[in-house]
């Protein structure tokens, strides 16, 4: 079995954690945001993102020449934890910070980095993730959105779906087929293109989430021209490049903490009621959280040391276990405290319950379903 490193925070890191926490507490007190569960995917607030950008807290691990701070992965981990623990609205810039930046640093051209990264860092440039299609969810390699070579670029036709926040995003990293499907090697012939979501031929159609909120979208491509300089990495290498992104996507604190504001409020409520029996039960949640955090932060440390290829299995495992945990929180909470969940409830715990219950189904689906992850982990463990 793989062993994950432990992490000891330095004094500067502890300081940094407190700095972030103070900033968020103050922002919340001043009404700059209303904390909510699942805020990293459903709490979009461009104003807040710009504020975070001004603090230097987007792309903070990136090179200074692109506007980054050259801070460590662990610093970013701490920052992310603080955002999630309080339920701050970080969704607008989330994918650009978590995925697009690292992708461009690894595979992008100098021109792409110089153009995109400084805008992302300011909290002014948002990216969507264009993977899924109506008939290609778990079987992602079967995507049929295609790009055909023309003079100076590519013409894209097809459709993406479930694109979180595409209606707010400026660009989307889009997985397309650049050569015909080959049943013997279905991962070949896929490429990643940066598509300007305001380009001619793009139509973004909202899909309402089950709460009625506008969260994700369909994105249609009708002869959309994408210039050559918007190809990420190599043509035909899209699958491998995408896999590298997944390690960043799968193991972060957002796979454990989506319902943390509810856990916190549960404990507060039990303390207010001096409910020792309830707190005993809740200590199991605390222990589970602690043990998952050990795994997640261990993977972050591996990523920091640059050994990116080895982390895909533990990263998938963290997501499978972590999302199951965050999904369980409302179910455990309601047995310890009587609640009446509604989205517009006065009582905080009722509102957090409603947000958690209604968003929980997505936790074990988005970013690859648990069933698919089980396959990945099992294969990885067996071949070790």
């Amino acid at each position: 079995m793989f062993q994950l490193p432990t992490v000891q925070f330095t004094e500067e890191q502890e300081q940094f954690r407190l700095e972030v926490r103070d900033f968020l507490q103050e922002g919340m007190a001043k009404g700059k945001f209303v904390p909510k569960c699942d805020s990293w995917l459903s709490g979009d607030d461009p104003e807040f993102s710009k504020l975070i950008g001004q603090k230097g807290w987007i792309g903070m691990t990136w090179p200074k020449k692109y506007g980054g701070q050259e801070r460590s992965t662990i610093d970013r981990y701490i920052l992310t934890e603080e955002f999630l623990a309080i339920g701050a609205p970080v969704a607008a810039h989330w994918f650009a910070d978590r995925q697009t930046g690292p992708l461009l640093l690894r595979y992008g051209t100098e021109e792409q980095r110089e153009f995109f990264l400084p805008q992302i860092v300011k909290g002014e440039c948002y990216f969507g993730i264009g993977l899924s299609e109506p008939n290609s969810g778990s079987d992602l390699a079967s995507v049929t959105t295609r790009a055909e070579k023309v003079d100076g670029g590519w013409i894209v036709n097809g459709q993406k779906i479930w694109t979180s926040n595409a209606h707010l995003c400026h660009y989307m990293v889009t997985l397309v087929r650049t050569s015909p499907f080959d049943g013997k090697n279905k991962h070949a012939g896929l490429s990643q293109l940066i598509v300007d979501l305001h380009a001619d031929g793009i139509t973004v159609v909202p899909i309402k989430f089950l709460t009625g909120e506008h969260h994700y979208n369909e994105v249609f491509f009708d002869n959309v021209f994408v210039p050559d300089n918007m190809v990420v990495g190599q043509i035909g290498n899209g699958w491998a490049q995408g896999l590298a992104e997944l390690a960043f996507e799968r193991s972060g604190p957002e796979r454990i903490l989506s319902t943390f504001p509810l856990i916190d409020e549960l404990i507060q409520e039990l303390k207010r009621k001096k409910n020792a029996e309830g707190l005993k039960q809740a200590s199991k949640i605390v222990s589970r959280l602690w043990s998952l955090r050990n795994l997640s932060i261990g993977v972050a440390q591996l990523l920091e040391s640059g050994d990116g290829d080895d982390v895909s299995i533990p990263a998938a495992l963290v997501k499978a276990l972590g999302t199951k945990f965050e999904q369980s929180i409302p179910e455990i909470t309601r047995l310890l405290v009587q609640t009446y969940p509604t989205l517009d409830a006065q009582r905080k715990i009722d509102r957090f319950m409603a947000e958690s219950i209604l968003h929980a189904p997505g936790f074990t689906i988005r970013g690859g379903t648990s069933e698919v992850l089980y396959g990945v982990v099992a294969k990885g463990v067996v071949t070790q």
Partner: protein, 353 residues
């Protein structure tokens, strides 16, 4: 057992199938009232099933009624059918006159309403459908004890609210309202019976929703293909299908068994067992069905959430699991000299909730 049962149920299911669809439920969830569906039920005499004929009822018994309620749960029928029929059942149970207009009820005996000289005062929250109904059948406290009263809702100040499924759950306030009917002060046993009935009606609704979720999910595993085959061919999906089928079978059998038990003894423990067991069922059914549907099931456009949101709401309404586990625990304590086996097999005769 009513002989007409199969026929009534067939008629009701056809009515629901033909008249209640996703879009209609959406419209009502936005706060509208659709009199057509209500009128359909009323005109077909479905709203007066299980009311005795001398009180103007349509005949049929509690089993028929609970099965109709189950069907309204299966179609998420957006009308106060459960509320009206339970209100009338309670009125008849306490020897009061049944009402003909849409009605609702409130059975938490937490002294929300007080009764003085025939006047009702107080405020209660989460009253089902209050803004769209005419009569409230509620418990109320007087100097003599607890009564069931029937009151005209036009005298109430109603503040609209909803549950997680966007069903009307309103705050209803009275200030010296004139009540139309008052029962005698009720015994502890009578109130307990009403609570059992309320829970039985809720379980019936839940059973219908669970049944529907199972249907939707099984159907989806046959339609949806990934990796070149329908997803029911994947073993992990098969595991979901089995667990869901198991929970659904448990729910349907629990429903049939507690209904049987209620017909012979309204104080039987079966409703308590069912309510406690449904807690697990609801969690499993909602989780599995959403997991199998994946992204499409998280959309507003898909009908799955009309059922899962209702289950997530209903489980926190009325007397919840905590209440029923208390009761079963008390029974176990009081029967400490018996073995568990004697307790389990003796419930029908020996035990009283």
């Amino acid at each position: 057992m009513s002989e007409m049962k199969d026929m009534i149920l067939e008629v009701v299911e056809r009515m629901l199938k033909e008249n209640v669809d996703k879009d209609l439920v959406d419209i009502v969830e936005q706060g509208n009232w659709l009199s057509e569906v209500w009128n359909l039920f009323e005109n077909n005499g479905i709203t007066i099933v299980a009311i005795s004929e001398e009180n103007g009822g349509a005949g049929g018994d509690l089993e028929d009624l609970l099965n109709i309620v189950r069907l309204t749960g299966k179609y998420a029928a957006p009308i106060p059918f459960t509320e009206t029929t339970l209100a009338n059942y309670l009125l008849e149970y306490t020897n009061l006159q049944v009402v003909s207009e849409p009605a609702t009820y409130m059975l938490s005996a937490n002294q929300a309403y007080t009764l003085e000289d025939g006047k009702l005062t107080g405020e209660a929250i989460h009253i089902h459908w209050a803004r769209h109904t005419k009569r409230l059948v509620t418990l109320a406290n007087s100097a003599e004890g607890i009564h069931l009263v029937e009151v005209d809702l036009s005298q109430a100040e109603i503040t609209p609210g909803t549950n997680l499924a966007s069903e009307p759950r309103d705050t209803v306030k009275f200030q010296n309202a004139t009540v139309s009917q008052i029962s005698n002060a009720l015994s502890f046993d009578e109130i307990r019976t009403m609570t059992i009935l309320e829970t039985a009606f809720q379980l019936a609704l839940m059973t219908g929703a669970i049944d529907k979720i199972n249907d939707l999910t099984v159907q989806y595993t046959k339609e949806r293909e990934q990796f070149g085959r329908p997803i029911h061919r994947f073993q992990l999906v098969q595991q979901h299908i089995v667990n869901l089928a198991g929970e659904t079978a448990v729910a349907l059998a629990a429903f049939n068994n507690f209904v049987d038990a209620l017909l012979t003894n309204k104080h039987s423990s079966e409703v308590a067992y069912a309510r406690i067991r449904f807690e697990e069922t609801i969690q499993a059914v909602a989780t599995i069905s959403h997991q199998v549907h994946a992204a499409i099931g998280t959309t507003h456009e898909h009908s799955l959430h009309q059922y899962t949101r209702r289950l997530w709401s209903w489980r926190d309404e009325g007397k919840n699991t905590a209440y029923w586990t208390d009761i079963v625990a008390t029974q176990l304590l009081e029967n400490s000299s018996d073995s568990l086996w004697a307790y389990l097999t003796g419930t029908k005769l020996a035990l009283k909730l």
